[in-house]
Symmetry: C2
């Protein structure tokens, strides 16, 4: 069967719990690795180089773009964000399943370049629950929450570009659902053409007379 | 999310262990039910009405065909075999995931009528292992084994018509892989268009200004 890892793109409403899902997945199954994005924005308090992001300056970021060093990159609020290509490709070749937590526009770029990537969108069970979670954080202004909700509304228009949608009503259950999607994808005949062809040849060689 | 159950068609090499996989799946998860086929062949020793098959005569079978009572039906060695439609549809509506263990030609008929059915093909890890399992049963003549192997070779030409292929190297692992396929399929955006449209409308209603 396919030995190469799978590229899994997780997007979703701000507040849907993507980060927690990813931690849960990685705790439960050791074949997942997380791709860390590179950004030109400044580190926030508590953020650590190589954990939340690789922090860099604009000159280096532009140089990375020029030598095709990103799988996808985009600008948000005047800052660059990108997924370094080398790490992802190394891990996939090593058979690891690589998780990317990125925005919709980046996800669609990845899908264009890696058509075999799995695009998964995480939502809350209801809109009321989304609002409750964002307000419950207690760390953001009403305006910031309104912006996030408005973006969720905008993103909901592009949901059909994703192949899978998961409802994060319970982190453990939802993480296992994502794991199920990955397991299932690994068994797709479209991904196992080589194995199938080998078996077909071996059967005919052995049993046709 | 989709409340209706999924129709799961399991086919595979004779000797790949489909029956054991199905028992394992049903023991581990109570949302699976097994569809029992109807046949005009005579019961073999130990077979029980409604467990291995529903046994019937040709007149009744033909009548069932005439009133569109089968999801698929086919003839093998002069006997009719078919999947009664009513049971499957009732169970799907009740939200159960229905397992069909049927041959390739029946599977393709089902896919034509139920494009949303999941077609899964079960193989042994290698051709040598397939031969070993068939010979290990000790219940069949060399000719019967040769016929089964020849059929495996023929079927391997149509593997690409299936959406998923699973290798039954370990029953527990393989059953969980099938369960993963089913979980994943339930999260496909293509199956959740209604949920997504409702969420989209609710978001826009709440947050567009």
């Amino acid at each position: 069967m396919a030995k190469k890892g799978l590229l899994i793109v997780l997007s979703g409403f701000s507040g849907a719990g993507k980060g927690t899902l990813i931690r849960k997945l990685m705790e439960a199954h050791d074949h997942y690795v997380l791709s860390v994005s590179m950004t030109t924005r400044s580190p926030r308090e508590g953020e650590q180089e190589g954990r939340e992001y690789f922090f860099t300056d604009e000159a280096h970021f532009t140089e990375m773009i020029d030598r095709n060093g990103f799988l996808e990159h985009a600008v948000y609020s005047g800052n660059h964000y990108g997924t370094p290509r080398a790490f992802v490709e190394e891990q996939l070749t090593a058979g690891k399943d690589v998780l990317l937590e990125i925005e919709v526009q980046g996800a669609l770029q990845v899908k264009e370049r890696f058509p075999e990537a799995l695009l998964i969108y995480v939502v809350t069970p209801t809109v009321a629950e989304l609002r409750r979670r964002l307000e419950g954080r207690g760390t953001e202004s009403a305006e910031a929450i309104a912006r996030r909700l408005k973006r969720a509304a905008d993103e909901s228009d592009t949901l059909a570009s994703y192949e899978y949608i998961v409802i994060n009503d319970d982190v453990t259950r939802c993480a296992e659902e994502i794991h199920g999607i990955v397991q299932g994808a690994r068994c797709a005949t479209a991904r196992n053409a080589d194995f199938m062809e080998e078996m077909r040849k071996a059967l005919h060689a052995a049993f046709d007379h």
